[in-house]
């Protein structure tokens, strides 16, 4: 028998009897595959992208109104407005009383409020 034939016999044997990977190895590979599955990364990326868009919008707004310090002014104005709405200070009511007296019907008419409206209601 020739050397070539003998060698080919050994190759054939090697093909038939290839070393099989261990079950532990296969489990490690599958575990890597699941850990690196892009779907998980995809969700994170999408969330990050949404967060990025929101941050970009805030940043653009900040720049348009004069930078981040302007947000402090806006917040203060908003809180003040709410506070005035809930509990208007006397100084805001008084001028109307001075000009119109206690009769506010003219003002009511001008503003088309109902007859029963009276600024004195604000006085508590």
């Amino acid at each position: 028998m020739s050397d070539e034939t003998e060698l080919n016999k050994m190759f054939d044997l090697a093909k038939r009897t290839a070393p099989e990977p261990s079950p532990d190895f296969m489990a490690r590979i599958l575990s890597d595959a699941e850990a690196m599955q892009p779907a998980v990364l995809g969700v994170q990326t999408e969330t990050a992208a949404k967060r990025g868009i929101f941050r970009d919008m805030l940043s653009a707004l900040g720049e348009a109104i004069g930078g981040w310090p302007a947000f402090a002014g806006l917040a203060t104005a908003a809180v003040t407005g709410v506070w005035i709405g809930i509990s208007p200070p006397q100084l805001l009511i008084e001028p109307f009383g001075t000009v119109l007296g206690t009769d506010t019907s003219a003002l009511s008419e001008a503003l088309e409020y109902g007859d029963g409206f009276d600024f004195t209601l604000f006085e508590g």
Partner: protein, 196 residues
């Protein structure tokens, strides 16, 4: 760990990679079953050390998972790409170790219980593995891909990034060297008494 057999033989590796990239868990399983043993066997034939072969195959598979979202279908065969990755990782490892002495080589793994019963087959299998590890790296790579993994020469040329003629030269020289290495062991391997 027991894994299900690869039933989806009609789905290409390309398509499975795409499914994997889209979050399909079954695709991760299928790709593992299809590709990991292939990577491991190639690495084992090249390195002759089970632990090293597992490390290389695991690293190669990590690269499969990483590249999946960017994989362009139809541009290259997934298996060719994987063979190349494994081959390069093996070469890197061999060059780091440089003088991988035969003492560092594992006792060749017994192929299967039925074959292991056949002492002659086992001896031939062991002898081939030991002889393969004695070949120069490039010859070993070409011989393993051609004669054990049964790749065609053009695909081996792709894997090794050389010409087909160079592949033919490497496999031919590799076979001659193997014959020389195994010559003195003919009787021990039982070839003397084999029918022609």
């Amino acid at each position: 760990m027991t894994m299900a057999l690869d039933h989806n033989i009609n789905i290409s590796d390309d398509a499975l990679l795409q499914l994997y990239a889209n979050g399909d868990q079954a695709a991760a399983h299928q790709l593992t079953v299809r590709l990991a043993p292939r990577a491991y066997k190639q690495a084992y034939r090249m390195l002759g050390v089970q632990a090293d072969a597992e490390d290389v195959a695991q690293e190669a598979m990590m690269r499969v998972w990483k590249i999946a979202p960017e994989w362009r279908s139809g541009e290259a065969k997934v298996t060719t790409w994987l063979y190349r990755v494994v081959a390069n990782l093996c070469l890197d490892r061999l060059r780091k170790v440089q003088s991988t002495s035969l003492d560092a080589i594992d006792e060749p793994i017994d192929p299967s219980p039925s074959a292991a019963d056949d002492m002659q087959s086992s001896a031939r299998h062991d002898a081939l593995q030991v002889a393969l590890v004695e070949l120069p790296e490039r010859q070993r790579q070409a011989v393993v891909l051609r004669h054990i993994e049964e790749l065609a020469n053009p695909e081996i040329a792709d894997v090794m990034e050389i010409s087909v003629a160079a592949v033919e030269s490497l496999t031919s020289r590799g076979k001659r060297a193997l014959t020389q290495i195994l010559k003195g062991r003919k009787a021990a391997l039982g070839f003397e008494g084999d029918a022609p």
